[in-house]
């Protein structure tokens, strides 16, 4: 679902780019304006405080204290030394690398291909087919993929057998998981990005494309020298959003772990480990420490992106 949101964010951001500066039209503050500004945004500010700022502050407090006493970075040290921590970092990193590479390569490739199709219904249908799995997210998509990856009931059991898999447990062996999670995430999320990239390609001036063609540039050279450079902003946006989302891996390993009775470990990802700290060990300080690390990564990425990415130049 994060994907869906970030997708539209991109759409909104694009609109934002073209907007004239909002402040320019209104030269003066008036007390009346300010009063209504507070009234109208008050409810949202309360929610922002309650579910943005306060939980972050409280997690900070928990992470640096133990039973109410300040303990410095002890909680972090303890969590980092946990025998499950390093494997979780490695698992999540492997997944992110696999996921980002395949996402970038295939989304860009498919967007270029779909964009090149001039038969209108074919292009629309292709985009629709790629996009529709986005409706199936969360536990439902993992559940569906449990079936697809189980050689006994899979619609593609032929492929699974050909790859040497005889049972679900073979398929979800630890070494295969980064690829398995990538396939699931790609299936639900890629279509939306393809639609975004398609929009970006449409934004490229037709005259430039025409000029390249007249100069004798083939499809591959046009894509490489003109279309790709024009898409970099959107590719980096996709990369950063997907990187941030990837660090949060939870529902996929959680459901697979439930389905395979622990063949997929309960502490496969960092978020799962944070969950175990809170729920199995009642160690809220440790849980807060892990989730703060993850939150810091996400906040860092989004801040860098807003300040450096120039995608949200609204003011």
């Amino acid at each position: 679902m994060t994907d869906t949101t970030s997708l539209v964010t991109a759409g909104a951001a694009r609109t934002g780019l073209r907007r004239p500066a909002a402040g320019a039209k209104r030269p003066r503050f008036s007390a009346r304006q300010a009063r209504f500004g507070y009234v109208f945004s008050g409810g949202y500010v309360l929610l922002l405080l309650a579910f943005g700022l306060v939980p972050t502050a409280y997690a900070l407090y928990l992470a640096f204290t133990r039973n109410g006493a300040f303990v410095g970075v002890d909680n972090f040290v303890r969590v980092f030394a946990d025998y499950r921590f390093l494997p979780a970092v490695i698992n999540v990193s492997l997944y992110i690398v696999t996921w980002l590479i395949s996402l970038t390569v295939f989304v860009v490739l498919l967007a270029l291909i779909v964009h090149a199709i001039r038969v209108r219904w074919l292009s629309t249908t292709a985009r629709f087919l790629f996009y529709i799995p986005g409706a199936i997210a969360g536990a439902s998509s993992v559940m569906l993929w449990l079936f697809v990856l189980d050689p006994t009931v899979s619609p593609v059991s032929g492929i699974l057998h050909a790859l040497g898999f005889e049972s679900l447990v073979n398929v979800v062996a630890l070494d295969n998981l980064p690829v398995v999670f990538t396939v699931i995430a790609f299936w639900t999320g890629a279509g939306g990005w393809i639609v975004i990239m398609y929009g970006a390609l449409n934004n490229i001036d037709q005259e430039i494309m025409e000029a390249a063609r007249i100069d004798g540039a083939g499809a591959v050279r046009t894509a490489w020298n003109i279309q790709l450079p024009m898409m970099t902003k959107w590719i980096s946006y996709m990369g950063i959003m997907s990187l941030a989302a990837g660090t949060q891996l939870f529902v996929e390993p959680r459901v697979l772990s439930q389905a395979t009775k622990g063949v997929v470990p309960e502490s496969y990802s960092l978020n799962q480990l944070a969950y175990l700290y809170a729920f199995k060990q009642s160690d809220f300080s440790g849980s807060a420490a892990i989730s703060l690390v993850l939150l810091a990564v996400a906040l860092g990425l989004s801040t860098i992106f807003i300040l450096r990415g120039r995608l949200f130049d609204s003011e």
Partner: protein
């Protein structure tokens, strides 16, 4: 790729006879496109057909064969009979959480986006910046901190613990802000003010009627996101209060194929589990099918017009 382009663009460009190399690249592209289309579609087609089979049929029949209406009815009955109809309770919970959160989101976000776009007040810029930041972090990143906070407030296990965090939707505020600052001009609002309308009336009678598209868009994304959310309700509520996403995952522990230790009478057959999966996403799937055009336009706002 320009091969395809040229071949379809008709009389505008003359079409030289394709060389064997061009034919080869066309075939390659068609194969690639077809393969990905199958990849995206096969699981959905399978999901639509699996609930029409019985357990044996699912293992033995062709994956894309239709089973029978009787088997579908049987799976339906066994799903809704499971633990005294708990599946219906889960669907009801999802509906309740998503709709109440949707209502709060709209009531709170639309005026906030309007205020950010058309009022000058102290704290406006920091509020806008905070909104952007929170909007761009994955929504799962704050789930554990929110859980820790709500458990300190002893709210865990109550519907509020799901509904209130669901209602916080910075992306909706941002979308509304962008919409009001681009599509609704300050001059129009000023004209209404000069005519003597108060701020509340300007908002309710001038701005709101113009905002229908953005209200629909915010509503759509809030509803879809909340309905499909697993992590947050998984931590916040349990037992009879879980929404269908969490309930679905819990069903797994009663499927003998996945969990051989399951004993007793309340086993779930695989086709029944497939039906549960299908029903858990049915509302969203239907919304997607019917709002396709609207959505794609929303997602690429500005982009496709260029």
């Amino acid at each position: 790729m320009s091969d395809l382009r040229a071949s379809a663009s008709g009389p505008r460009r003359r079409r030289p006879a394709a060389t064997p190399a061009q034919w080869l690249s066309r075939v390659l592209i068609a194969v690639l496109l077809g393969a990905f289309a199958l990849f995206f579609v096969i699981p959905i087609v399978w999901l639509l057909l699996a609930p029409t089979k019985d357990g044996r049929g699912l293992l033995l029949d062709g994956p894309f064969a239709f089973g029978s209406w009787e088997a579908l009815a049987e799976n339906w009955n066994s799903l809704f009979a499971y633990q005294g109809g708990v599946f219906l309770t889960w669907i009801g919970n999802s509906t309740f959480y998503s709709f109440v959160a949707l209502a709060i989101t709209l009531v709170v976000s639309i005026p906030a986006g309007y205020a950010l776009a058309h009022f000058q007040f102290r704290g406006r810029k920091p509020l806008l910046f905070a909104t952007l930041i929170v909007m761009l972090i994955p929504n799962t990143a704050l789930v554990l901190p929110i859980f820790l906070e709500l458990s300190a407030l002893k709210l865990i296990g109550t519907p509020l613990a799901v509904i209130l965090p669901f209602s916080f939707f910075p992306f909706g505020v941002y979308l509304t802000y962008i919409y009001f600052s681009t599509a609704v001009s300050g001059d129009l609002l000023n004209a209404a003010r000069i005519d003597g309308a108060g701020e509340l009336r300007v908002f309710a009678q001038v701005a709101m009627p113009l905002a229908t598209p953005v209200i629909a868009l915010v509503g759509f994304f809030s509803f879809v996101g909340n309905w499909n959310n697993y992590f947050l309700p998984f931590l916040m509520v349990g037992g009879q209060k879980v929404p269908v996403q969490v309930g679905l995952a819990n069903l797994l522990s009663n499927v003998p194929q996945f969990n051989p230790t399951t004993t007793g009478s309340t086993v779930i057959e695989l086709p029944t589990l497939a039906l549960a999966t299908l029903l858990s996403v049915a509302p969203i799937l239907i919304i997607f099918l019917f709002s396709q055009r609207f959505l794609v336009t929303g997602m690429t706002a500005g982009g496709t017009k260029g």
